[in-house]
């Protein structure tokens, strides 16, 4: 047949892909498979239990820690430090970022300071904070607050400054005062960016609470991990890590729920 001859081509219906539907199943299955493989390898004796105890042992240890109240005690301490530090830091970041984003004058003062101090690894400040505030709770809360401050301040500043100027114009033309423009237009418009900052701040808080407790604490999840490592109590060490990762997942989820409740009207 002549390949250049006119020919007929038909577009027909074809079955729709259905990959999406079993996606969640694959996800849980992959996690289960890794845990199962870990159990098998650990039980086979190929690796000494002190390096890699099986997940079942870690789970038993976790249950034991929970029953003895050890879990609640150290988790409570860490949560208190995180909660207070995160609230103080992100609150301050929100305040500073909002006004720096809304006013060129405030930004001129704040922006160079932020840019100069943002890159400091916050954990490096801990010895200084201990010197100033003592080895107690205050220094640990302070280092977390500082860590949470920056991403929220930078996010709020970018979001507030990036508000569609047309929306600001509309508000002014309808009689909004400068403060009303900030709180009724710029702030709600910046919320998605602010939440991105809050998520970063939550991750930073978790990182800093563990680091701070490893350096300067006698209790808390971070201390438990370090202490268990020193004593080669590997199941205890891993159990504490599991607790941390569950906490990380929960805090991300909580922020998502909050964001969905607060951020409105976007498709």
């Amino acid at each position: 047949m002549d390949p250049n001859a006119p020919h007929t081509f038909v577009v027909e219906p074809r079955p729709e892909g259905r990959g999406e539907r079993w996606n969640p199943l694959v996800r849980t299955a992959s996690l289960g498979a890794v845990v199962a493989a870990w159990e098998v390898v650990a039980r086979s004796g190929a690796v000494p239990a002190v390096f890699l105890p099986p997940p079942s042992t870690v789970a038993m240890e976790l249950a034991r820690m929970a029953v003895r109240g050890e879990l609640a005690r150290s988790l409570g301490l860490s949560l208190g430090r995180i909660g207070l530090g995160f609230l103080l830091g992100s609150g301050a970041g929100l305040l500073v970022g909002t006004f720096a984003g809304a006013s060129a004058r405030v930004e001129a003062v704040v922006d160079p300071l932020l840019s100069a101090t943002y890159p400091i690894p916050k954990i490096a400040l801990l010895p200084l904070l201990v010197l100033w505030l003592g080895i107690g709770e205050a220094s640990k809360v302070a280092v977390i607050a500082i860590g949470a401050f920056f991403p929220v301040a930078v996010g709020a500043m970018a979001g507030i400054r990036g508000t569609d100027p047309l929306l600001v114009r509309v508000a002014v033309s309808l009689g909004a005062t400068p403060l009303q423009v900030i709180f009724k237009v710029r702030f709600p418009s910046a919320l998605p960016v602010i939440f991105a900052g809050l998520r970063l701040a939550a991750g930073m808080s978790l990182l800093l609470v563990v680091s701070a407790e490893m350096i300067a604490a006698t209790a808390g999840i971070g201390f438990t991990i370090l202490h268990a490592g020193d004593l080669m109590q590997t199941p205890r060490l891993l159990a504490a890590i599991v607790v941390l990762s569950v906490f990380g997942i929960l805090s991300t989820w909580l922020l998502q729920v909050l964001e969905r409740a607060v951020v409105r009207g976007r498709s």
Binding site: D164, L167, R169, A171, S173, S189
Partner: protein
Amino acid sequence: MRVRFESVRKTYRRRNGIEVEALAGIDLVVDASEFVCILGPSGCGKSTLLLIAAGLVPPTAGRVVFEGTPAGHPRTAMVFQEFALFPWRTVLHNVAFGLEVRGVRRAERVERALAWIRQVGLAGFEDRYPHELSGGMRQRVGIARALCVDPAVLLMDEPLSALDAQTRQLLQVDILALWERSRKTVLYVTHNIQEAVFLADRVVVLSRRPGRVREILYVPFGRPRTEDLLADPEFARFCHRIWTSLRDEAQAAMQEADGGS
């Protein structure tokens, strides 16, 4: 309520420091309850004129005088080409925004906003968010939001330019009906000749940049107007007469834009 533009000039300074004259001395009087359309080629500064009237942009020289502004009313409210709705607010709270920032009690502002939502034909959509609405519905919200503060002058900056042709025609008819009920003073910017003639008492034709008043035409068609007017040969003739006056300006404006500005 009269608005007098007295030798209003506007010069912008571009980022590269070059000064661009947008408006070169506009003199114009808009009477109470008059519907005036400002027509001009793109980039002739007609939107700038509205922004100046709204107090959002200061004139470089000249002034705008609002004579006999009724007490307790804002001078102007503006409808924008891009709708510019607050995406996080429902239809109701978009429309009520102006009253909210003016400190009107909640019950009263909700009542007044609902009345305007009905007027623009959006009853039943009060609790929708802007992204759930079509373009035509969004601009209805924009119009209701501006009218809700009961401004002395309504400023409309190409309110229908972002809509498809059919929606545009439907909204033209609705705007006309709204105006005939309220008899508000309207200053309406457009680049669409048919739209200007269909809506306006007077059409002000601006020249290309720097904008100056080239011609002011009284629209000879009586009111109330209906869509039948669009099929009237007299209507077509009148529009064509404006086009012949505008054509050279539009051509020159287009070539200037092509030449890189």
